[in-house]
Amino acid sequence: MAQLKYNDLMNPGHLGCPGCGATIAMKFALQALGEKTMVVIPACCWGVIAGPYPQSALKVPILHTAFATAGAAASGLRAALDMRGDTETTVLSWAGDGGTFDIGFQSLSGAVERNEDCIFVCYDNEAYMNTGVQRSSATPYGTRTTTTPAEKWKKTGKKNIVEALAAHRIPYAATASIGYPEDMLRKFGKARKLKGGSRFIHVLATCPTGWRIGSEMSVKIARLAVQTNAFPLYEVEDGINYALNFKGDRKVKEYLTLQGRFHHLTDPDIDQIQKMVDREWNLLLRKAGMQSL
């Protein structure tokens, strides 16, 4: 990889767990977006990671907001910047899966329907991690969380947020993984340049704490998710044109067995998950205009 001109807009000393994927994600995001960025953070892990009063973990302005409000607050901030003649600063909404998929969904949907000129990012650790690993609609089928414990693990699938936003005909939506830094940096760079409308990036951000893996596995797991097609990398323009960025060829079992949050699954369960992954993957292939396998 070409040598990056490092411009870390993040400070050390933040409160992220060791190996926190969300912090790596923010690092990459700001690397691509640069210092003319303002970040809107609703309640989520980053609400705490950013540091308690009077500290800040970022070298760009942060607006902490209430849980459900990322989409709306970003819209308002964008309006204020436009009114004071600043069209250069990027407004980055940085929400977790709760603040994007669930409690924040309405606000996001409204903002995207209005085609607000913001970059909306969901850093997805696949549960309400900040409050103690409770399930969200981003929690994958088969996961054990504190509100879908092992005896009654989550039997509904992961909400397809990109598909939902594609239905809004959002100008640009993409998935990204901290396990693929070049791809992620490219997408954030692209999103930065696509001013004038809504952009959404769904980032898989490993949570060693909640996923029950060693902290050192954080990046590798995020890579394996892509390699097994559990979390495909793709882009959608105008909600219609799909482009696949990577074709995984490994079995999802390789991904599942490395994580404590899936340890309760039996082989038939894993087979079922493989079927579900394959089905989603084939659908994605069809959308991208490629033959399904």
């Binding site: 960025t37 800040s56 970022l58 819209s75 309006a79 204020a80 606000s107």
Partner: protein, 392 residues
């Protein structure tokens, strides 16, 4: 320039004259005319502002919070369930010390669905740290809205300008709409104390431990406590330009009154007539209009009501299990006086039921004839037939 416009229009004219920069609002009867007018101004260029068609009131408040954090003069309007939906963010706006102005049209909360006037919605938000101003007529609405921006921006506290549904929002009156130039003189462009800037990055509204939270709340309390004086100062400046004053309260013939009736909103207008009638019959009655509710003007309450024998508080609202809210607060303000007057609490006009001059006379007579007040509020104007169908 005088025009015959409805109360809603007075709000939108004021917001236009105030050169608001960002408006985010969700329509709810009977606030809709406000947002429609403002949307019109933004579309036809009369007002240079961003109008965000948010998808809910919660998002409306979130958007103006975002906008105000970005240093813009921000405005919204709501009512009833919309206001209730915003509840958590009302706390947020004041704790974030953002100079947001909101027009709130007093409307009943459901079920049953009821679009008519009732004060429970705004009063249920009395703890959220917003300055609350209850308006009597259209001119007051316009003037108060203009003053609200000055007040909010001076104190960095959000301000709610409150008007009755339909009786005020949809009633046409001749209203003086001032010149833009004069308004600009009174209300200059916002130089915000809070303004996110990449040149001076920092985090706003982050996690605060017990070590500092209480001090932040105390800071807000101090600002709130200075609001009354601040309003007075602003009204002086307003009067200097526009030759009108309204005051945080208005005490009419209270000095020698035995019984003082306390009203808010449009009821005050009705009661002025009743006062004149009663006085002409020799009754020693006074009328006290309460406009500034938050911060609660305890000193003015004591000053104007303290000497009377009885106070009749008309509440168009109810806090279940406790009674009319204005009555409770007035009671609390007067309780430390050596000889506090007796507080007679009346609940009337809920859900838009008309408070007629007869209702007010009935309240006066009730107050006059009863030696001591009931602890609970007395509900006036109940349809006993309906009550009778389920009570007995």
């Amino acid at each position: 320039m005088k025009k015959v416009i409805e109360g809603s229009q007075a709000v939108s004219e004021a917001a236009r004259l105030a050169r608001v920069q960002v408006i985010a609002a969700y329509p709810i009867t009977p606030q809709t005319h406000i947002v429609e007018a403002l949307s019109g101004y933004c579309s036809n260029g009369t007002l240079d502002a961003r109008f965000i068609n948010v998808e809910s009131e919660h998002s409306a408040m979130a958007a103006v919070i975002g906008a105000a954090s970005g240093g813009a003069r921000a405005f919204t309007a709501s009512s009833s369930h919309g206001l209730a939906y915003m509840h958590e963010l009302l706390h947020w706006a004041s704790a974030a010390r953002l100079p947001i102005v909101m027009a709130e049209v007093n409307r009943a909360l459901g079920p049953g669905w009821n679009i008519w006037t009732d004060q429970t919605d705004s009063l249920a938000q009395r703890d959220t740290g917003w300055i609350q101003l209850y308006c009597e007529d259209g001119q007051e609405v316009l003037d108060t809205t203009l003053q609200a921006f000055r007040l909010a921006e001076e104190l960095n506290l959000p301000v709610m300008v409150i008007l009755d549904a339909f009786y005020l929002s949809h009633t046409f009156e001749p209203i003086d709409i001032p010149d833009q130039q004069l308004v600009d003189r009174f209300l200059p462009r916002l130089s915000p104390r809070i303004k996110m800037d990449t040149a001076n990055p920092g985090a706003l509204n982050q996690l605060v431990t017990p070590a500092a939270y209480m001090e932040m709340r105390y800071n807000t309390q101090l600002a709130m406590q200075s609001a009354q004086d601040c309003l007075e100062k602003i009204e002086k400046e307003f009067a200097a330009v526009f030759n009108r004053t309204h005051g945080p309260v208005e005490a009419i013939r209270c000095r020698d009154a035995d019984i003082i009736m306390v009203t808010t909103g449009t009821v005050t207008g009705t009661c002025r007539q009743v006062l004149a009638d009663l006085r002409s019959r020799g009754e020693k009655v006074g009328l006290f209009k309460l406009k500034l509710f938050r911060p609660f003007p305890s000193n003015l309450i004591c000053r104007h009501l303290g000497a009377a024998k009885k106070i009749a508080v008309i509440d168009r609202n109810i806090s279940f299990g406790a009674g009319g809210i204005f009555a409770q607060e007035i009671r609390a303000a007067l309780c430390n006086l050596d000889r506090p007057p007796r507080i007679f609490s009346y609940v009337a006009g809920l859900g838009g039921r008309d408070i007629t001059p007869n209702t007010l006379v009935e309240i006066y007579n009730e107050t006059k004839t009863k030696p001591t007040p009931k602890q609970e509020s007395v509900w006036i104007g109940l349809n006993q037939e309906i009550v009778g169908t389920w009570r007995n």
